[in-house]
Amino acid sequence: MCQIKIYGRRPVTEGKHMPQYILLLREAPSDFSNYSPEETQQIIGEYVAWRSKIQAEGKYVGSNKLKDEGGRHVSMRNGKARVVDGPYAEAKEVMGGYFVINAADYDEAVETSKGCPHLKYKGWIEVREIEPVPAG
């Protein structure tokens, strides 16, 4: 049921293009089962509404949820790959998922992210512009 969308090189058409931004949704790993069914429904409703809104405005490009479980930290030490499990649930902060959006500039991207319910529920968002890949 879940499809992984892959965002490859952003196509750039004839000079003029709409920059894309990635919204990295960061959050404290917490217990999400503390909400009542009605509260859960309400929160989901808020996210769905936000998503439909940016879709209707033509800003939505794509989004993915990163799995809460698992994860590895890979690094090089003394010429050897070092693999550590993580981030753990005990970590102070994890990246829950990301959205890719169209926005004219940082101001607009920030404005869009301000509407994201994620902020209301203890999360914060890192907004970064994606470097366009020149055509050809």
Partner: protein
């Protein structure tokens, strides 16, 4: 959802099912913001919760061959049957939760939790109770289910009338709990009323359970429910039926009520719900308080009083008498009641007396009555209402709220 899954896994696994549903909701909360909600969210949630319970059962290694029995159809073309199944599951669950062997408060709480999806904290807020005591009530109710081995099933045909009776009573109480208490969070209380209406219409819509009596209760609840938004003024102060802005009444709900009222005429039994619905429809259709069909209302109250004498019915009957035969007649009837012991400590008695005296122009005695009522209630909205009446009659609204 809980009802459907409990049918699959058995009422003994109710706790496990509840946890699984909770987990599924949490998972939806994590995924759907990014992936969007699936076409059939309920089916998705049930599938995820089902898998969760199955995983647990496998882990407990108690499950061997039973896995095959628990397939439920989920998917596009099965949606109609699926919806029908969910409805039937909920009906079974209502009958199970409203089993007469469970104490009444437990029946209501369990129904709200398992059929209505209310959280413990919401139930506590709606009942002005503390969460631990609601949890205890629910735990006790579940113990009863286990002790008496109450099955999740529709009652046998010979038991159905009695079981339906107790389910209707619980729905009636649930509605009143939301409707009549004047304190607490308005929103949660309104939810309680709407849930009672939903359950009643669920019963009414099923060929086996849709008895005329069920339609009568449905009509009653819808007529009353239509007035929910009009019960308080802008400042949140209580308004009597005579003072409500009738344009705020929910016409759509009244319409639905009328349809149920028509279907309630199907049998030869006239239940108390029929009588109450009849009174409610008189109010719902009246242009104004004065233009209400008071003789018809009075007839119904007389009949109700014959069947189950209660102070509320007695007082309402007197209000109707005052409308039909005049204030003096009403006061004369009221004085007959004053020998009744239970009424002597019942604030609505004095409040009603005050209203009638005020209407008769006897302000000083009206003030006395309001004062007496004031001494008998600690409900703040009611006290504010009475104080306002006293000042309106020229009395001093000095008494502080103790």
């Amino acid at each position: 959802m809980i009802a459907t899954l409990t049918r699959i896994f058995g009422i003994k696994r109710l706790d496990q099912v509840e946890d699984a549903v909770q987990d599924a909701m949490a998972r939806a909360l994590r995924l759907w913001p990014y992936q969007g909600a699936p076409d059939n969210p309920t089916a998705w949630l049930i599938q995820v919760a089902k898998n969760r319970v199955l995983d647990q059962l496998r882990r407990d290694s108690r499950l061997t061959e039973t896995t095959d029995e628990v397939e439920i159809p989920i998917g596009g073309e099965a949606d109609a049957t699926f919806a029908g199944e969910i409805r039937d599951d909920q009906l079974r669950m209502i009958f199970t939760c409203c089993h007469p062997l469970i104490p009444e408060d437990g029946q209501i709480a369990l129904t709200l939790k398992t059929v209505g999806g209310f959280s413990v904290s919401e139930i506590a807020r709606a009942f002005l109770a503390r969460e631990p005591s609601v949890t205890k009530t629910i735990t006790r109710a579940k113990q009863r289910l286990r002790e008496f081995d109450i099955k999740l099933e529709m009652p046998a045909p010979d038991k159905l009338p009695a079981r339906l009776e107790s389910a209707l009573k619980i729905i009636y109480l649930m509605f009143n709990e939301g409707y009549s208490a004047l304190e607490g969070e308005e929103l949660v209380r309104t939810d309680l009323c709407h849930e009672a209406i939903r359950l009643c219409e669920l019963l009414a819509g099923h060929p086996v359970t849709g008895a005329p009596k069920v339609h009568a209760l449905g009509a009653l609840l819808l007529f009353q429910g239509a007035r929910l938004a009009a019960r308080c003024d802008a400042a949140g102060e209580l308004l009597l039926l005579s003072e409500q802005d009738r344009s705020l009444w929910d016409r759509a709900m009244i319409g639905r009520g009328l349809r149920h009222l028509r279907k309630s005429a199907g049998g030869d039994e006239i239940s108390e719900y029929h009588l109450e619905a009849e009174i409610a429809v008189c109010h719902a259709l009246a242009q104004s308080f004065e233009n209400t069909d008071w003789p018809r209302v009075l007839d119904c109250y007389e009949e109700l009083l014959n069947r189950k004498p209660s102070p509320v019915v007695a007082l309402n009957r007197i209000v109707a008498i005052a409308k039909v035969d005049g204030v003096e007649a009403g006061l004369a009837e009221l004085n007959k009641l004053s020998e009744n012991r239970t009424l002597r400590n019942y604030y609505p008695f004095y409040a009603a007396r005050g209203e009638l005296l005020r209407e008769a122009g006897n302000k000083s005695e009206a003030i006395d009555s309001y004062q007496k009522a004031l001494g008998l209630t600690s409900s703040e909205p009611v006290r504010r209402f009475l104080m306002k009446r006293i000042t309106d009659c020229g009395g001093k609204g000095v008494e502080s709220g103790e």
